[in-house]
Amino acid sequence: MEARDTNEHVIEVTDLRRVYGGGFEAVRGISFHVGRGEVFALLGTNGAGKTSTVELLEGLERPDGGRVRILGHDPYTERAAVRPRTGVMLQEGGFPSELSVAETARMWAGCVSGARPVAEALALVGLAGKAGVRVKQLSGGERRRLDLALALLGEPEVLFLDEPTTGLDAEGRRDTWDLVRALRDAGTTVLLTTHYLEEAEGLADRLAILHKGRIAVSGTPAEVTAEQPSRISFRLPDGYFVGDLPPLDALGVCDHEIDGRQVRLRTRELQRTATALLVWAESAGVELRGLDLRSASLEEAFLGIAREASEKNEGVAA
């Protein structure tokens, strides 16, 4: 892997805001930066503000507040300085359905400085065999790959990928991941949005989880998950009640749920809580059926943030 100079901020976003015509605030003051050669993921549910944010970074719209710098330039007012160095993959197509794959790529190549040969670009995403096929006859996944090929035509320094793997099958998704990693290793800065948690976890050097137009949490995948509690779940043995367990607080449990005989515990000290629980079961001579220990995952973090944020909002409303 080449040395990455993450001190150079290729993407700088400061207090960015976007308000739609009806007064809806899609982006409510977000700030982050991405260093050269980093892969940065914006995670969020539908409507969290991912695409609204990316469109501002791509320079398609003028922000309603805050500022964006791509390679040191404003992508909206200094379009000519930025565009030859960026590649963009929109969330959906944007190709005339009656053109063939090769015709589409040739048209786009004519609009990209230093474009690589069309055949090479199509081969890169496994579309070489589809050159003569009309865009309307492509599958959803093939269209995503065509979009990716066009984004890569000019060997951009900065790549924006808005949900690059939505609609791809498992194999296509893995291929795209490999391609993104190879690009990153070659020094390309990548900003991608996704609602697949494993995609962000596996690809991103750093990520931010967006919720209702704000960044709820950001950091490396490990940092983000480390803030979340681990989970233990099991079935209460017959004849036992929750009160028969050792005091949960003393076990390091920070939260618990009882659903019939199913017990779910949350802890930030998985080993200590689990050991105490198992020692208790051993001495009581009972079996904890369905025992499941799970350290925090990004999914847990994601769901936790959505839950917390909505509770907070309700609190504010009340």
Binding site: L99, E103, A109, V125, L179, D185, A186
Partner: protein, 271 residues
Amino acid sequence: MSGGTVTRSPEGSVRGAVTTPMSRMSALARAELTLLGRSKATIIAAVLVPLGLPFSLRPVVDDMNVEDSGLSVGLVLLPAAIGFSLLFGVYSALTGIYTARREELVLKRLRTGELRDTEVVAGSALPVFAMGLVQCLVLAVGCTAFLDVPAPEAPHLAVLGVLLGLVMCSALGAVTASVTRTVESAQVTTMPFVLVSMVASGVAVPLELMPDRVASGLELLPLSPVITLVRGGWSGDLSAYEALGALATALAWTVLAVFAVRRWFRWEPRR
């Protein structure tokens, strides 16, 4: 797909040059030309209607006694044919094309690249613009050959009229597309301008046949000066004052239409 070696072009592969506005627009225009060739509905509406309709009007014009107003059948049919070409071949066709590209998110995609906004609008219009120009030439030659129209007395006025008409109708097509939701509804949204122009701008009925007071009002409509310049260019009957007035009116509408495009053109579908 995949692999570190393929993410950078292999040694010796030929890389494209740095793009210029001309190279970008011609790449876009070439793709649009391909699309135009594949759209039978557009071709029929844009080629057959302007070339065929005026001649089907001939029996009507023959009964109009146009000679009383100092016109000939040819001098009525030629401007009518050019008017049809501008209205159907250019204006309506471009309204449909811009709407289709916007709804397919093509315009949005194009704006993410190096193309400037004006290049996207102009490049998309080029093939239709060129087709309109060729139609006008074919009509001029055809009418001269088959309708006993004499050679134009003031060709420069006819040329200026046609060129202004082409730019104006292209820009108006882009404006109309901005208020058109789907390609199908373009048939409705283009109706007002097409109908008004045919009836009141001298396309179907020469303004010379109308009462003077009505005619002087209708002369201010967008397509009227274009038709006036074409007819006057052939007949040579326009005074310098009339010619300048028509040119000024046509230029004003053209500038207004271009301004409207810059101000109100829609790049993305309504959601």
